[in-house]
Structures are given as C-alpha cells and as structure tokens.
Amino acid sequence: MAVVNMDGEKERVLDRAPSLEVEESFSNTASISPEKSEPDSRSSKRESALLLEVRDLAISFTQYSKGLRQRTISPIVDLNLVAKRGEVVAVVGESGSGKSLLAHFIMGILPGNARVSGELYYDGLPLTRERVERLRGREIAFVPQSVQFLNPLMRVGAQVPVKGKKKREKEKELRDIFARYRLAKGTERKFPFQLSGGMARRVLLASATARGARLMVADEPTPGLDDAAVGEALGHLRELADEGRAVILITHDLEQALGMCDRVAVFYAGTTLEEAPASDFNGDGHDLRHPYTRALWMALPSNGFHAVPGNQPTPDSLPEGCLFSPRCDIATQICFSERPPKRELRGGWVRCHHAA
C-alpha cells in the first residue's frame, strides 16, 4: 500500500504547481510571529462569551469584463455571523455562497480591489487591518482546507510556530504539541510528502493551536478524508471549543457539522439566511426558520433526498428582493421586491418575510 500513498502524493504535488504562490502566502500568514502582545484583548477575557461579530458585511469587486467595460459583482451582501467562546458555529452553504470569502475577510487577506462595508468586531473592539495583522497566527488561527497549505520544502517541525525562546524549550514544546495530536517522535523531522493525509492535517491543527489561539477559523477541513479521519478532525475542533476557544467551521457538509456544532449559520448567495441552534435540525425540519434551510435539511440522502429546482443566483445578477425568492415555493409579492431584514425568532434569527 505504500505505493498508493506515494502516487497519491505525486498527484497532489502536480495539482499544486499552478497555484503555489497563493498557497505560499497562506502558510506565511499562518506562521507570522508578531512581536507585541495584545493587552486590550486579554483584559476583557471574562466579560462576555461573544468573541467575534460580523455585522451586515458586504463585499464587492469591480472587474473588467471585456476590454475597458467594467462590471461589479457582489459575492457578499447582508452577511452576519457571531462566534462565541466555547462554541463551534458551523457555516454551511453551497460553493459560491461566500463561505471562504468570509474567512479571508476575517483573516484580513482579501485582494486589494475588494470594496467592503459592514463591521467586524473582535473581543469588543473593531478588528482593523493593523490589528488583525498583529493577531493572526497567534490569537486568530486559520486551519486551511487542504494539506497543500504546508510548505513542501520545509520540515514540518519548522512549520509549527512555538512560543519558547531557547532551543531546548522550543523542542520540548514542539514534542508536547505533537504528542497531543498523536504525531510520533521523529515526525517533526519529516517533510510534508512523507506524511499521510491524516497526519498532515494533524500538523496543520498543531500549527494553528501552537500559539494558544482563541479563535479558530477552519475552512472545509474534512473533504477527501474517510469517516474515521473526519471524526478525528472534527473531534479536535470540538475539543478546542470545549477548552474555551471559539471555532468557526466552514463546510458544505451539513450532516457532518451537525454532529459536533452548537449553532449553524446558513449562507446563500453571500447572505446569511438563518442562524439556528443545531438541535433545530430534526424530523421534517419544522423547527427551522427559513425555507432554504429546510430544503437543505430535507435534501440529505437520509432525509428524503428532495431537490429544490433552480440555482443559487450569481453575484453579478442578484434578484432585487429576497435572494431565495426565485426558488421559494412560499414567496409572495413582497419577497420579490424587498430584501427581508434580519429578525430574531425562536432562539435564532432569520431573513424571511414569512418565517414564523
């Protein structure tokens, strides 16, 4: 079976080649080592469970379509998300719903031509570009989607940023954190291509947690893993939340997320349609607030496999009213003309004119 792995690795190396630069920049941000500590955030530690809040975020880009003709696309509109200490909040939605873009926004790595409105608070204070540059890699950690985010030319031990000053302290710390993620002695001397997918993922987790992060943003950490490895990866995230961290789990797989998260934020065409406690996903979905959330729940293979017709609108041609209205079977006049505002409902909130 060794050869299977070898070949799998080879394929991955080939896949990586064209986008190497982008991924490099990610791994750099993950291991940035800030000099200064952040006094303001430590002091307010016990004040509230709320750690991160995204309020009415909108992101748009201006692109050149043909020659000098420009067009504006709005991949994110009216997006809200809250991350609390001790909780896992799952961000679910289909590809193109703005999940990864949100992660990039939180980490402060949006491309330069992005126009952003809305507010972002971390620990009660606005999270400015300067502040996030100081915090990321330390207090705010990013667990990337793929093991390709490891630097292929560096030994994995050198890619885990440990706090210690002296060489011996560093080595001990590294051994402790590797032991925690069941990485055998000697793993730190290996290169990424010598690790299995599951081990490489544990190295990424070790790297993200090494500096005691308080907020973890995990972007699709499970695709391509088999059930056992998925359980392990999600189990680690759950553990991090149980230790008092806030975890944002970005995923397209509702079923996996429900097994371990506390709340679910449902994204669609760049907006948050609903935020619901995980326990509301049960039976025929009558506890859920938004018709799309219900559709997502009822489309699971074990729940009827129902397929709502139609497609998510593209960011350059969003409908005028509710973004789900073209596909919604309870839509009325108001749904086609007015975007529903966010309102609280039964322990969650929803953007729907008709939710009750």
Binding site: M1, A2, V3, V4, N5, M6, D7, G8, D15, V92, G93, E94, S95, G96, G197, P223, G224, L225, D226, D227, A228, A229, H252, L254, E255, A295, L296, W297, A299, L300, P301, S302, F305, H306, A307, V308, P309, G310, N311, Q312, T314, S317
Partner: protein
C-alpha cells in the same frame, strides 16, 4: 450488454498492486454503488474501467469486447473536482462542444442555465461546473457513466439535483452507472445494489 471488469489488477510502475483481481459487472439501466475507505483503490478502479489506465492483468469488456480506442468512449468518467476537469481557458460553450453538440433539452434537464455557457470556469461554482461536466459526459453515444465521488464537494441540495438528473437518464435511456462514494447513505439512496471495494477484489 453489460460493462464488465474481469479480474483486473493494476499497479503503478513496479510498486505493490493497487487493485488486485477486481471483478464487477454493471448492466444497462442499473446503478451499482461502490463503497470503501480512502486508499483502497476506488479511483484507480474507476480509471481502469473507463479506459484511462490499462490493467496489467485482466480485461475490461463492453458488450463482451474490448473498449475501442480512437473514437467516442461510451464509458464516460466523471471526477470529484470539476474545476480540474475543464480547460480554464475555455468558455463553457467550448468545453461542451468538445464532446458533443449538447441540445437544449439536456441542458434544461440538468438545470444548466443558458447564461453559464458564455462564462469561464472560474466564474462558476463547483455545483454549476459539475452540471456542465455531466452534460458533457451524457452524449448520445454514452452508455455507461463512472461517477467517482462526483457530489462529495457539493451541498445537499445540489447533490440531490445532480443525482436525480442522472437517475432520470437511467430510467429513460438505460444508462448504466457505477456510483463511487464513501457515503453509504447516498449510495443506499441512488444505487440498485451496493458493493464494497474490498469484496470485489481477490488477493
């Protein structure tokens, strides 16, 4: 007239056998689910059955004859990552045209919107691209579809849409499907019978 893998073995170079004496038959109009943990050789098996890899031992037979080269392959393979299966410098219209002149009825049945055809791959979401790939694979001469984890990266609604479109085609025109997935609930839903990767091989 079935698609049949008979005792096929494959290895890369001089390495260990990735699949060894694997046998499986898919009949027209039948959906066979193939399940297994990662690393068991499911994808390698898919590539062998679709004619992308030659087995060192055993044969793949369509209508009791070897797959023909140099013509349209009636056994079409679909991948997990559609963005890696299309030319990034071709608009979707050209991507489709490479395979066949896709008719409007097929596009409508698969939920492909006409406005997508003028777009580049990086302007479409994974679910939209996968539908384009499905339209490309379902030419009139296609008799078998090898679906290798094709909805693993997609949300539940899009997954249900794509599989319902495939199942309609199975009913209407007797398409045979090998559905490969690690998701037992999905296979139970779409397949007539489900086999385990470990059970179709002999060591």
């Amino acid at each position: 007239m079935p698609l049949e893998a008979r005792d096929v073995s494959f290895r890369y170079g001089r390495g260990d056998w990735v699949i060894h004496r694997a046998s499986l038959t898919v009949d027209p109009g039948e959906v066979v689910g193939l399940k297994g943990e990662s690393g068991l050789g499911k994808t390698t098996f898919a590539r062998v059955v679709a004619g992308y890899l030659f087995p060192q031992e055993g044969v793949v037979l369509l209508d009791h004859a070897h797959l023909r080269r140099g013509c349209y392959n009636p056994v079409q393979l679909m991948h997990q990552h559609p963005e890696k299966a299309v030319n990034p410098r071709w608009r979707m219209r050209d991507t489709l045209k490479e395979a066949w002149e896709v008719d409007d009825a097929t596009l409508a049945a698969l939920g492909v919107e006409p406005s997508w055809l003028g777009r580049w791959p990086n302007e479409l979401s994974g679910g939209e691209l996968q539908r384009i790939c499905l339209a490309r694979a379902l030419g009139p001469e296609t008799r078998f579809l090898i679906a290798d984890e094709i909805t693993t990266m997609l949300d539940a609604v899009t997954q249900a849409q794509i599989w319902r479109a495939i199942l309609a085609r199975v009913r209407e025109s007797g398409l045979g499907v090998l559905a490969i997935s690690h998701d037992g609930a999905l296979l139970k839903r779409v397949a007539d019978r489900v086999v385990e990767m470990v059970d179709i091989m002999k060591w």
